[in-house]
């Protein structure tokens, strides 16, 4: 829940793709507009399949669309 460690470039890629609207992207990848908004805000990490579909829509590699910010996991007590 809350902000994820995955950042996206979807907003910029939409702008570069002839100012594609969130609804157009949602229709292209089979998701709702609300889901696209949540992904752009960083409130939802999409499934691998949806992430690949978004990347495919922009003809971009997935690492150009999504950026993972690595964070150390808390160490378990032995």
């Amino acid at each position: 829940m809350g902000k994820s460690h995955i950042k996206t470039n979807i907003r910029r890629l939409r702008f570069n793709a002839d100012e594609m609207t969130q609804q157009q992207l949602a229709d292209a990848v089979g998701a709702s507009r609300q889901t696209i908004i949540a992904i752009e805000k960083g409130n939802y990490s999409p499934s691998l399949e949806l992430a690949f579909r978004i990347a495919h829509t922009f003809n971009s590699p997935i690492e150009e669309v999504f950026i993972y910010e690595h964070m150390e996991l808390p160490k378990k007590k032995k």
Partner: protein, 148 residues
């Protein structure tokens, strides 16, 4: 506010309304003496079955009315299709409501073991069911707003 959030608010309100009206109607019949809920436990069976039936029919009618009003207000006739985020939110909300229902069920049984009258158990089941439903829909609203 998205369609799903509005739908969940309608579900909470209709759940409260239907339970309150039906509960009041049953209690009036109990006061009149046409049914005895404190000693005749078989009556509770028919009370529950009729409640389920009434609840389903009333909810369908309320949701149709909501959809019509929403379509007029937003000019969007199509109900948005569910995607993976909707399904994940529903799953998490169902988990939360099951926790509440299980906890309530165990507490009711414990209260029964401690000497609570049996008819209170049936009332508790209705209240726990309503609470679990509110938690389900409330959780969905929370996840839609805060993220999942």
């Amino acid at each position: 506010m998205s369609y799903r959030e509005k739908e969940n608010i309608i579900n909470i309100l209709s759940g409260l309304l239907i339970t309150a009206i039906y509960g009041w109607a049953v209690y009036q019949r109990h006061l009149e003496g046409s049914i005895n809920l404190t000693t005749d436990y078989n009556t509770w069976g028919s009370v529950f079955l009729v409640f389920i039936l009434v609840s389903i029919i009333a909810r369908i009618i309320i949701l149709i009315i909501f959809h019509i009003i929403n379509a007029i207000a937003t000019r969007e006739e199509k109900i948005p299709a569910e995607d993976e985020r909707d399904e994940l939110i529903k799953l998490k909300a169902t988990r939360n409501s099951h926790y509440v229902f299980t906890g309530g069920f165990i507490m009711s049984i414990m209260a029964l073991a401690l000497g609570m009258p049996v008819y209170w158990l049936f009332i508790a089941f209705i209240m726990i069911g309503l609470l679990a439903e509110i938690i389900d829909n409330g959780s969905q609203i929370y996840y839609y707003r805060k993220g999942v």
